[in-house]
């Protein structure tokens, strides 16, 4: 293992090993089919570790399917997935997959500690008993995610945000290098979302790659660096500022995209600070003033204040 052999949240380590930043996930022409249904059509993307990448698109666009193909949960009919030049499926110990919250059995008789310990199985295998290092990694993961005091709780007795943190703690205990998260922010209230976003940022800063599906256009830009816009095929990919603009979004969502969410609130707020790259889109919005709805108008005023 590379990143995780050092203490997580240790930025100095990443800085001392810049080559670590060149760990690249490369996806080429991945196609996912469910029987006759084509869910993902020749999707290609690449992401370097240290980044938080969002898979964004309308319902049924194949976001989760692409993520599940990356995780090996569904089989890709075609295409190549490589991590650091190796087939991704050869690196399972480095990859952690977090299912959507509704796919998890929250009544399972499992404590937070038990859940986090499962992350160590990637290192201990099926039989080797836990050693000192395994135990300290579990403690460390619990502490990092602020769960030390909740460690003996059954997982169903946590709040939504705590539940997501428990699963992230499992990934930390696993010393996972690539985190694949399926809709991690869904169902969380605003403060919990912000907390989780901050924790994901911290994990990317220490050199992990986070790839997550996300459906809320209003928050994509705050939470992620890069965006892959998906509608069965990849419509656009690049930094959030580049991708979250009118043309790609219209190409992805069709003409309904503007009604779908308050994404432009973020765009305008970002436009004030992000320099020339986004100014053009800001102008575009002002030309169409009044369109986006009152909530966004309020956000825009705030951005100007």
């Amino acid at each position: 293992m590379s990143a995780g052999d050092r203490s997580p949240l240790d930025r100095r380590w990443v800085e001392r090993h810049p080559s670590n930043l060149n760990h690249i996930l490369e996806v080429t022409g991945v196609t996912v089919r469910y029987g006759p249904v084509l869910a993902v059509d020749r999707a290609s993307m690449s992401a370097a570790c240290g980044a938080a990448v969002a898979l964004v698109g309308p319902n049924g666009a194949g976001k989760s399917s692409l993520l599940k193909a990356l995780a090996g949960v569904v089989r890709a009919a075609e295409g190549r997935m490589r991590w650091r030049g190796l087939p991704l499926r050869k690196c399972v110990a480095e990859v952690a997959y977090l299912a959507q919250r509704e796919e998890v059995d929250w009544d399972f008789p499992l404590t937070v500690r038990g859940l986090v310990e499962m992350g160590r199985y990637a290192h201990t295998g099926w039989w080797r008993p836990f050693g000192r290092r395994d135990r300290s990694q579990v403690e460390h993961a619990l502490a990092t995610m602020g769960l030390a005091e909740l460690a003996e709780r059954q997982i169903g007795e946590l709040s939504g945000g705590q539940q997501q943190r428990a699963f992230l703690a499992r990934a930390i205990a696993q010393e996972a290098h690539v985190l694949l998260l399926d809709e991690p922010f869904t169902g969380l209230d605003q403060p919990a979302q912000a907390d989780l976003g901050e924790l994901i940022r911290a994990m990317t800063r220490e050199g992990r790659l986070v790839v997550a599906t996300h459906h809320d256009l209003a928050t994509v830009g705050d939470l992620f660096d890069d965006v892959v816009l998906l509608n069965t095929q990849v419509v656009a990919r690049g930094s959030a500022v580049e991708v979250m603009r009118d043309e790609p979004l219209r190409a992805c969502y069709g003409d309904r995209w503007r009604a779908l969410s308050g994404w432009s609130a973020w765009r305008v707020a970002r436009g004030r600070t992000a320099g020339s790259g986004a100014t053009g889109t800001l102008d575009g919005l002002e030309a169409e003033d009044g369109q986006p709805g009152s909530g966004e108008g309020g956000a825009r005023t705030e951005a100007r204040a």
């Binding site: 949960v73 299912a99 038990g114």
Partner: protein, 291 residues
């Protein structure tokens, strides 16, 4: 009291009662252990279907190879595998739920079993296989049950980690490289084996009581999967043994006694269980209200 106790002690010096006691302990242990997994997998219905489908296998085994524990064992195992695997395959192709297909399969198998047993030699009483005959168990029966118990418990205990990951989150397990499909076949095999081991004790109709209820009891108390499995084994074996003593004392059918003791323990756990018990919840609610 001491008189009753010595009477009981003397009674259980008889070999057939001793064999019955050992059989209850072993079958209760293996069934209780696997019941934890059945509860985690929420597959109680499948277990009940499988248990009914063992009957034709026993009938064919007895018809072909004569009446012996091994012929009944092999027949039951083959029948269970055919129905279990067959329902998986048919359900996959036919776009029906596996439970639906399993229900079709097991009722067919059960009907065939009853029909076939009427052709079996006169010594075989259908009731023995339907409701158990623990008091007539032979040394060979005990040997079969012992090996079944040893093999399943050792195998499943050794596979605890991958099993736990798979039962909790099949998708994440697959992602982590756990051989999910192979493990599911191992589980199917284990369920069939322990069902067979409980045939003598409770018979195939009541087998589901021994293979679901102990785990259901313990699930109301614990928050760790290991505690669920071993606790289920403990409840299963002790409960079955206590039930046998009670059955002997009041002259009940041992199979019914075993299942009723388990159900009683479940009722108790449901009332006072630490995790989800009704009374503790009510009490907590009241205290919260007082504050």
């Amino acid at each position: 009291m001491s008189e009753w106790w010595t009477g009981l002690w003397e009674a259980f010096e008889q070999p057939h009662l001793q064999r019955a006691l050992w059989l209850c302990l072993l079958a209760g242990f293996s069934n209780g252990f696997v019941s934890g997994i059945v509860v985690l997998r929420k597959s109680a219905l499948m277990v009940s279907s499988l248990s009914h489908s063992l009957l034709p296998g026993i009938a064919i085994g007895v018809l072909v190879a004569g009446l012996s524990p091994w012929s009944a064992f092999v027949g039951a195992a083959v029948a269970g595998l055919i129905v279990g695997l067959g329902s998986v395959l048919v359900a996959r192709g036919a776009r029906l739920g596996q439970e639906t297909v399993l229900a079709v399969f097991y009722s067919a198998a059960f009907a065939a079993g009853i029909l076939l047993l009427s052709y079996a030699p006169g010594a075989v009483q259908i009731e023995q296989y339907l409701f158990g005959n623990v008091l007539f168990a032979s040394d060979d029966d005990l040997r079969v049950v012992f090996w079944v118990c040893a093999v399943t418990v050792v195998t499943l205990a050794a596979l605890q980690r991958p099993l736990l990951v798979m039962l909790f989150e099949p998708a994440a397990a697959q992602s982590a490289g756990v051989p999910v499909r192979s493990l599911q076949y191992v589980l199917l095999g284990a369920v069939i084996l322990v069902l067979i081991s409980s045939l003598q004790a409770v018979g195939c109709i009541l087998a589901v009581g021994l293979l679901v209820t102990p785990g259901a009891c313990v699930a109301l108390w614990v928050t760790s999967p290991a505690a669920l499995l071993w606790g289920g084994a403990l409840v299963g074996s002790v409960g079955a043994a206590v039930a046998l003593v009670a059955a002997h004392h009041w002259d009940w059918g041992p199979g019914s006694a075993i299942v009723l003791v388990m159900s009683g323990l479940f009722l108790l756990s449901w009332l006072v269980g630490k995790r989800h018990g009704v009374l503790p919840r009510w009490w907590r609610g009241r205290k919260a209200f007082d504050n």
